[in-house]
Amino acid sequence: MQNLSELMRRLVSSQVEFVLVGGFAAVAHGVTLVTRDVDICCRFSEANLMRIQEAFSDLHPVHRPRTDLPLQLTSEQCSRLKNLYLKTDLGVVDCLGEVLGVGGFDEVLKNSIELELPYGNCRILDIDTLIKAKKAMNRNHDKITVMLLEKIKEQQN
């Protein structure tokens, strides 16, 4: 059964270095579209990837493009991976090494803000950078998200 809050709690409590990006970052800023997968940008170091693996270890994590492949990272894989698309018993988590239009993890981190969640703090992409990223992605639903984020910005000013 899907439980995205529990996935997030596990990432936070396992001290994974990540920033929430994508649809749920937009939702946090006020966008009313519904999304299903948790998109995070994270540091693609071996230590951090192993923290992700450990956080989801009892949730039968598999590689989303190949669900017959369980998540069993090796040092060699960690050094080659750019993105990690995961499916777990509690939902889907896409781990990105970089965000189009923004850059790698350090750049994403620099353009993030901290949120206090019931189970700990997490960082999400700030609204201006999220607009930039969504414009760079430019898929149909990104265009709608950009329109909504720009309206939200107008209301806030």
Partner: protein
């Protein structure tokens, strides 16, 4: 219902074929997962996504409410 799910899988297959050029815009594996669920399971997944989104929005409102 297995029959219902088979039909949905066919719909998905057709959709990929007919709208192949739009497939890059759509996460088909998420859609496929959704079609594997019963309508009730889909509603529960939707509720869960809404609840998670609400917790994020609440945290954001709390952040805005804090004195700078």
């Amino acid at each position: 219902m297995p029959g219902e799910r088979d039909n949905e899988a066919m719909v998905l297959k057709d959709m990929v074929l007919v709208h192949g050029t739009e497939a890059e815009d759509i996460d088909l594996s998420l859609l496929k997962d959704s079609l594997m669920k019963t309508p009730w399971e889909r509603m529960q997944a939707n509720d869960d996504a809404l609840n998670f989104g609400e917790s994020l929005r609440t945290a954001m409102q709390k952040r805005h409410a804090k004195p700078k």
